[in-house]
Subunit: 413 residues, 2 copies
């Protein structure tokens, strides 16, 4: 069954409010196997709202309308619906009663402006709102069912679950079973991923690409007549993708890269220390976003000044003078220094130029060295050249640092 | 002139990606005084995309289409446009040349799948993409101008500014002058802000509220027949708002809180050091997001383990044993320790329980101590009780830390 969504409101159409209702309901309905057709946003303009109803009625079997049910002059949805369906607005006693009770419970005064909210197109079914004050309603026009819901996210969401989904399920015919998975990759550009996956598509399964800087995410989905069929199709596709992308795939269950790294460190019982310069604490911040990270993360040093590199990490002053703070020599000394200081198994160090200033011809903005040191192995470092804004360079540097830890732990320990 | 927006992509229609492009462009165009008609979202389905084009062409004078210009099999926009306008796809040499040069510059290999991106409907005007690889294009059908832009937010935005706005202005008629300002506040809840601002509205000026956790942002705008009139209206409103909200307003020019703090530290020539426990480097990360922060930020220590608090910061072991790591005594010792170590004017220290585990009846999850130490003043600390997820507690803690520095520097130095 084709479902359409209409979001109303000047605050949406003028970019003041981000429309998170649609984002939420799209995920909800698609996950349940409904076929979502179009989503239209429209301002608080009665003619425009009616035009949106007309277009949706022509294309869909069910239409969900959010917003415009409040007491103010820019709440026009019921009026527009009445004109569109060609039936008068009528005071609904059930809705009025319900509203008055809600106002009482909350200790609000029932104002004359609120009475307007109990008027709905004649013949509507009231959708009681136990979570707020504006009642919703349902009306069927030319075989298409319209649901009118308040735009307040909390109320919208619960009324979708309580009224809309059961009604759609009741009317739904031959909904396919649907399975999906999110695959996260790092290390290939979108077109490189696409090239490696050329010809991998199969009937009943889809791949969606999404750049999520600096990662590329793939959303794969499969439809089948039974859950099993959808699942089988999905896991076959997943296996193929992993065999073609190899180690670039770091997550298939929605985990972040820092969660994956945390799991690996926990599994191998390795502890970690960090010495960051140009990322300025971002790597430590991401590490500590993971609950339980205190089990493997011992400490971090944001050695922003040269003095702090020498004083805390014991990087010889002469090394900084000879090679510069942004060098393999210094970054390796930072890694060894923080690992010894923290007495951890592993350490990662970062030094670079995040910009916009500080670049030189030999070491332009975006030059970054990352070092990795292990208790029983030779300390190593790599040089990278990144592009982007200051925040992008910080972000991709942190990503590469996590990816280096991931591969180090996966392959070398 | 009526403008419509069409967003394409399964990732939008399935609720995987929040459509921030529309949010941004709506704000942009409305700010410039354009009349935005409808916004339609549609999945990666050629027939549905064509239907969206048809509906928009019927209603609008200009249509902006985002997404679907990439190299992968789910990128269908050019194909759909070609069928809709009834003209074949044609390899555009200019676009191909441009793409190859971009790939060269970036050191990417030009793949066979990328060649597809240089095919556009015959008769299109190419919109060169200097910020990414997929070219955009412009086509006029039955007097309606269509702009086809890549969906990557960075590229979409700059191409709107470079190509779409000038073209719309060229064609636009009778726009009102419009001025706006973003006011950022911290420390009051949305309803408290709304209560303080009751009755402040005036003709021709608007206030939009937006919760931007943990800040409340106010977007104020004013319309007038002349720039001056709009400006006068706007600055009157701004003054009133500031007089009612006082110190809670920290920015009126779009600056972040960390930028404001950075400016204050630079002005007063104060240097800063940080000792973070539960925020895990987030404060240092935010400090170092500001270009030039190396002028005032000396170093940070992410003293996650108790051992690191003792070893680096010199917090007496007995203090941790007697009062716990999350205590005013320890957080003050951390502040003094890191300030002396770094030899800075100012230091801030943080210790708390970000959860989800680690809470106790006396110190539940969300208990946070923040210390602040100055070279010539008594070291102080405050206890806070926050609510939320681990990441929310980290974020609000960092926000309060910045706000404490801001007020300390504003009032006490």
């Amino acid at each position: 069954m084709k479902v359409e969504i209409i979001t109303t409101g000047d605050e949406i159409m003028s970019g003041v409010t981000l429309d998170t209702n649609f984002y939420w309901v799209a995920d909800k309905l698609v996950s349940l196997g409904f076929d979502l057709g179009f989503h239209t946003s429209v301002g608080d303009d009665e003619e425009a709202i009616i035009e949106a109803f007309r277009t949706a009625q022509r294309r869909a079997e069910a239409v969900i309308v959010s917003g415009g049910l409040g007491p103010t002059t820019d709440d026009l949805t019921a009026e527009a619906a009445s004109r569109f369906f060609g039936v008068p607005l009528e005071l609904n006693d059930e809705a009025l009663e319900m509203m008055k009770r809600r106002f009482d419970e909350r200790g609000y005064k029932f104002l004359e402006v609120n009475r307007k909210q109990a008027y709905v197109p004649k013949g509507s079914k009231i959708l009681k709102n136990f979570w707020g004050t504006a009642p919703g309603f349902q009306y069927e026009g030319e075989g298409v069912v319209f649901f009118f819901l308040p735009g307040v996210p909390k109320e919208f969401k619960v009324m979708i679950e309580e009224y809309v989904v059961p009604e759609l399920e009741l009317r739904g015919i031959g909904r396919k079973k649907y399975k999906k998975k999110l695959i996260k990759t790092f290390g290939l550009r979108e077109s490189e991923v696409a090239e490696r996956l050329q010809g991998i598509e199969r009937d009943g399964a889809e791949i969606g690409y999404r750049a999520h800087f600096p990662e590329i995410h793939l959303r794969i989905s499969a439809y089948g007549d039974t859950e099993n069929e959808a699942e089988r199709l999905l896991s076959g596709l997943l296996e193929d993708i992993i065999s073609r992308l190899g180690e670039c795939v770091f997550s298939t269950e929605g985990e972040t890269l820092e969660e994956i790294v945390g799991k690996l460190l926990s599994q191998k019982r390795l502890t970690l220390a960090l010495a960051e310069s140009c990322t300025g604490g971002l790597v430590a911040h991401r590490v500590t976003n993971v609950p339980g990270s205190s089990n493997y993360f011992e400490r971090g040093v944001v050695s922003y000044s040269n003095k702090s590199k020498t004083e805390i990490l014991g990087v010889p002053k002469e090394l900084i003078e000879s090679f510069g703070a942004v060098s393999s020599q210094v970054v390796e000394a930072m890694a060894v220094g923080v690992r010894r200081l923290a007495n951890t198994d592993l350490s990662v160090s970062i030094s670079g130029i995040a910009g916009p200033d500080g670049g030189t011809p030999e070491k332009p903005v975006g030059t970054v060295f990352i070092g990795i040191s292990h208790r029983y192995k030779a300390t190593v470092s790599r040089r990278f050249q990144f592009k982007g804004t200051r925040e992008e360079i910080k972000l991709i540097t942190s990503e590469v640092a996590f990816d280096l830890i991931r591969k180090f732990v996966l392959n070398d320990v």
